[in-house]
Symmetry: C2
Subunit: 218 residues, 2 copies
Amino acid sequence: MAKVPVVTGFRRSPDGGRGLARDLRVRWALEEIGQPYVVELLDFAEMKEARHLARHPFGQIPTYEAEGLTLFESGAILLHLGQAHPVLLPVDPAARARAVQWMFAAVSTVEPPIFEFSLATVLERDTPWFQERQEMLAGRIRAVLGRLSDRLGQGDWLEAGFTAGDLMLVSVLRRLAGHGIIEDFPGLVAYVARGEGRPAFQRALAAQRAEADAAQAG
Amino acid sequence: MAKVPVVTGFRRSPDGGRGLARDLRVRWALEEIGQPYVVELLDFAEMKEARHLARHPFGQIPTYEAEGLTLFESGAILLHLGQAHPVLLPVDPAARARAVQWMFAAVSTVEPPIFEFSLATVLERDTPWFQERQEMLAGRIRAVLGRLSDRLGQGDWLEAGFTAGDLMLVSVLRRLAGHGIIEDFPGLVAYVARGEGRPAFQRALAAQRAEADAAQAG
């Protein structure tokens, strides 16, 4: 049984250290609650080995192991961590339910078209349909961002204060930087910058970058 | 404040009453816990009106309203309902965290390629790339189903007993019926049938079908 939680991440992240992989969400959450952790870096072959599949049936990262509990899915890990930490999930049941609602919205409504867009740049770049289909996906992403921007309005966060829902949404929206889509929604650009400006995010990103640099050098 | 919870659903579901829309997940959960509810049916124009956008910022269904709390995202609604009902979420914290992990896996790992596959049959059927891209998506779906089938093994459910995680996964997998993909995984076909065989599922589906028939006739 590990005393300090163990989180898994990419040994060589496809994003070259920009912190777009899903382990950053867990690292960020652990930094928000002040919980020390260690990171186990895996290469793609190790992710498909039986030892890792026992932790994560889909052979992905991140996973979380602590005190005999093993979890996969960043949303589930954040929800578990948030049970005892109001900085992630408010104590009031209604406020907590609304924070959880934004966590689900992040991964099941906002992220899928963004993930498809990112994935297509890897898997479909050489197909004859790449350009036309990316424009269709950009349209779907813009529709979602427009609704999200309307709901955020002039607020700093989606509910009364920062929650794990914002942590997930900011993490999902970061994937869009530089693609000329989110840049049409200045309120959302500021929202992402607000999330990235949190000291806990900065610590998580710096740790992840140091590991990426070490892996690059090694 | 509504005494009986109000759930929103499609007035005319694109699936013609097969219960593939996300409101069925909430209806099924409410039937599992024996909570009476009423359904407010919306057409596509009503879903984009300010009154509904106040409930659901992305203009979709389902929503859930009860005792002054308004929620969207089926996962968040199930998690809220499961707090007080062990038939959805076990009381033991570790078992509960694992059930929640399967809820997130359902909507953020298993559903996205399945949803893309369904969506493409609507939005991309007339594109020149439709057939070739559907085969790529089918390959991504098969990879996920293979892992899920391995984890399920000979078990009836993914953990010790039925949870909201199974409810979400069965609901997601039902979208695949008849496409010649899930049929390659007999263990998963049996798993879906096991979920569909639950009396609570049958009651939810029958209610949804009766409404679809009435809307068709009306």
